[in-house]
Symmetry: C3
């Protein structure tokens, strides 16, 4: 599919907004659907990636177990989104991420860690999906 | 008016940038003008909305009275802006908001609370305006 | 060059994303290349601007000397980007900026100061470059 860079850039922003609102509302199945069927998601440096939608959902349930006795509302913020379209159709995106975590009764959220993210997106019949996502935390290698 | 989704999305971002820079500079009249004549603005959960431009201006003066003896520079940050255009012309937007508050002599601002916002925008002769804005604070219902 | 407002707005976002990722990775030469040959960069209120690419690079090396014994990863976040195109071709952009600073072993970054920035961009053969950048810090004049 040929779309202009402008159209692509805006689609990427909209893809992220709906994807991350779903994740932050705990809709893990919907989040996994924004990956390709064999998509790879590595959210923590040094941890092997989850591969495929079922593993992504399981990984998210596993990760969120830490919040079972510690209710939190997390919000992922993205900024400085740089998009580049490869001739082969892959769309490479790099950007910053901060995780905003609010706890009941606390007005001031914790904002941490500061991350960089590299995504490879592909167009599947007009819909953008993540082929991969790799998250790095600043000063954690 | 028919515009592409891409054009609409960018107009929404530009609408927010000018609207919120005006609000944060204390230009309440200009902020109210970015709402429709009978627009509704509910900025605090549990508080009834201000309806119409005059009430919006009054509400903002009333709200900012708390800062009379406590000079602050507030900046509203938005992120993860998801836009959807209804067939009837209404434009529904949901996004995250953080309020950044700097006080004189303090280099580090307070960043709180973490909010989600739902707007309904309408096109009035080529200009986007807020028909409504409802703000929710995380963990405050 | 005549481009639509939508195309221009997206180009501005992409320009900032690549420009600031370069700066935050310490690529000062690449950052300076995003300014015009006689571009002006004033990053700290009250300090005279660096003029031209060589001075910009020198200024950045000078400024970062403070981090020689204090390794940090800084990330510049931008928000509420308002773009206006002058009839004479100059592109005026105003926006918010927060600097996110992570130190080794500290998960929670410092987020400060809260800034506003005013850029004048120009189109040089289809590439956006900064003719000038002026940074203000909230409550510092």
């Amino acid at each position: 599919m040929s779309r202009s860079f402008t159209d692509l850039y805006v689609e990427v922003l909209q893809h992220y907004a709906t994807q991350m609102q779903n994740l932050d509302e705990g809709k893990f199945e919907e989040y996994a659907q924004t990956f390709t069927e064999n998509g790879e998601f590595q959210h923590t440096p040094g941890r092997p990636p989850a591969v495929g939608r079922q593993q992504i959902v399981e990984e998210l349930h596993e990760f969120h177990r830490r919040f079972e006795d510690d209710p939190v509302q997390r919000r992922h913020w993205f900024d400085q989104v740089a998009v580049s379209a490869d001739p082969d159709g892959a769309i490479r995106v790099s950007y910053y991420c901060l995780v905003v975590t609010t706890r009941p009764g606390q007005r001031v959220p914790q904002i941490a860690p500061s991350c960089t993210v590299r995504d490879v997106l592909v167009d599947e019949g007009g819909v953008l999906r993540n082929h991969s996502r790799v998250v790095d935390h600043d000063f954690v290698r």
